[in-house]
Every structure is written in C-alpha cells, then in structure tokens.
C-alpha cells in the first residue's frame, strides 16, 4: 500500500499541474500556450489514473511499473509537442511553423527508430526495454532541442520574460530527467532511490511554470544581454 510519501507526491504533483492550467486561464494565456496547457492537463489526468492503479495493485506491482513507464513515454511525447509549440511561438513571425512541425515529426520517428535498433541488439524483452530507452533518448533529444531553441532566442534577442522563463524551466526539467534516466541505465544500484527521485524532480516544471504564468505579465520584457553569462 502507498505510504505518506506517495500520497504527498501524488497530491502535490497533481495540484501543481492543475495549478499551471488554472493560472494560465486566469491570466488569459491558455490559448497562447495551448500545447503547454494540454501537456499539463494530460499529466494531471495520468497522475490520477496512476494513483488509481497504485491503490489497486500496489507500489511494487508490475501493473503499476508498466503503466508508470508506458504513460511516461506518452507524456514525454506530449512534452516534446509542447516544446514544438514553443518553437512555433518563437518563430511565428518568420512563418516557419510547417518546417518546425515536419522536423519535429521526423526527429520523433528517428528517435523511436534509433531506440528500437539499440534495444533489439541486446534485449529479449524488447517492448519494456524500448519504453525505457525511448524515454531516455526522447528526454535527451528534448534537451538538445531546448538548448537549440534557447540559443536561437538569444540570437534573435528575444525579450519576452515569460517565454524566456518557460523555455529555461523546460530546459532544466529535460536536463534533470535525461540525467536521471541515463544514471538508471548506468547503475542498477540506484533502484531504491529511483522511485523517489523522479516524482520529486517532476515538481520542477509545474512549479516554475506556475511562477511564470502567475507572477510574470505577458508584456514583461528583459534585455537578453542580462542573461548571457559573458557580458555583451
């Protein structure tokens, strides 16, 4: 049965994810950041279903484990789409949305194909290993794409404070998760830490996005030169 930790993590996680959508609606930004809000709604829904499975089958059951990792892969794809939404938003004035969409689909298929090829070589339980491998690789691709997006924003001298904070928070989140998945693949001795580390790291993104939607007005601007570590 779940202990107090699982209850707290579930409750806080769901509450924070729902808060992002509520804050975004309250500040009139729901449609502007539609893909981010759809991701947060999906994450809240998945959290509720995960908890139902946790209560029914238990924390260490294979049912919970399978659902956790399969739903995590789907959420990673949804987050990848949210990132593409940010790309479209940044490049909307250039009219490059269709190229971004095409590139995103190709990259997603490429990552899935690469993950499958890697898993096929060393594993007999292809499907369950594919889910883990694809999640790790997608987090890493997401991280690289966020890094590229941030580089483009610096180059384009993007000044929208809220957009900057949304992208940077996403970069932080992808980095933490890509590192965690890679560490899990590297060392199985961390299996005891894993079920605790990942859900707690999951608070990062909704927390930062709630702050960005609630505290930062849409028209707030900052000088991009203030963000570069090397003064320009």
């Amino acid at each position: 049965m779940p202990g107090p930790f699982e209850y707290i993590v579930w409750f806080l996680g769901t509450l924070l994810e729902a808060s992002v959508v509520v804050c975004s609606i309250a500040k009139g930004s729901f449609r502007r950041y539609l893909t981010l809000n759809v991701y947060m709604l999906a994450a809240s829904f998945v959290n509720i279903v995960r908890f139902k499975i946790l209560l029914t089958y238990g924390f260490k059951s294979p049912e919970y484990g399978y659902f956790y990792y399969y739903s995590d892969l789907l959420l990673t794809i949804a987050l990848y789409c949210a990132l593409m939404g940010l790309y479209s938003y940044v490049f909307e004035e250039m009219g490059a949305e269709q190229y971004v969409r095409l590139g995103a689909v190709l990259l997603l298929l490429g990552t899935a194909g690469f993950s499958f090829a890697v898993v096929q070589q060393y594993s007999s339980r292809i499907m369950s290993h594919f889910v883990l491998e694809a999640s790790q690789n997608l987090y890493f691709v997401g991280l690289v794409l966020t890094y590229v997006l941030w580089g483009a924003m610096l180059k384009l001298r993007e000044t929208r404070t809220r957009l900057i904070q949304l992208v940077l928070a996403l970069g932080l989140y992808f980095s933490v998760f890509a590192a965690s998945y890679a560490l899990r693949n590297l060392s199985t001795s961390l299996d005891g830490v894993w079920p605790y580390l990942i859900p707690v790291s999951g608070f990062l993104l909704p927390l930062a996005w709630v702050y960005a939607f609630w505290r930062i007005p849409e028209d707030a601007r900052i000088a991009p030169s203030r963000l570069a570590v090397v003064p320009r």
């Binding site: 890493f140 966020t146 941030w150 980095s175 590192a179 890679a182 930062a208 702050y211 203030r226 570590v229």
Partner: protein, 133 residues
Amino acid sequence: MMAAFIFVCSIVTLLQFFVWYCRSLIAASAKEALSPEVRDVTGIARAASGEDFTRVMQLLQLCPERPEDRGSIQAVGTYFGLLNFVRATLARMVPSMRAWTESERGSCAYFAAVALERRIAFSRGMLAQQMES
C-alpha cells in the same frame, strides 16, 4: 557508453540552464526600485553587494511567506551558494571571474531585497484585510 554520454551532457546543460534560469529571475526583478524603507532596513544604500545577501535572507525569513515566491527564492539561494563556491575556487585563479561573481552576488542580494519588499507589502495587505473584517 551512450548512457554515460547522455549523463555527462545532461549534467553540463543542467548547470547551464540553472544559471540562465536564475539570471532570468534576477533580471526580471532588477527593474523594480526599492522603497526607502526597505533600503533602510536592509542597509542597501546604493548598489547591493554580496555581503548583504545573508542579512536580507534573514529578514525575509521573519516575514510571512508568499507561496508563489518560495521556489524562486530557493533557486536564487542555491545560485548564490554556487557563486560562493566559484568565488572560493575558480575565481582565485582567474581574476576576471572574481569581479563577475561579485557583481552576480550583488544581483542576488538585490533580488532578495525585492522579494522582501513584496513580502512586506503582502503582510500589510493581509493586515489591512483583517482590520476591515
């Protein structure tokens, strides 16, 4: 091999995104002017210095918390710790780093002073609400 590569890259980018994120938080508050009252309380007469940070954080802890500020204050507190570490290690060998860390530490102190200003306004708002009801 692949996992090790991803792990190293992720840690490096994590550090970079963390620094950028904290700098964006600090930059967003840098435009806000401090009231004379907060300047008096914090002792920040003109530009804030890194030495002010600990004192301002202690003052912050005396005020009722605003939930929406908690995460950003913790993030900047961690960034300040990172800067202290860089100042004690790398900056000793690279003199230009020393000036940079000093200026960043001052920005962190200013961010904390702006957060203090908001918390004071928040406490006053709560008090006014209680008086009315």
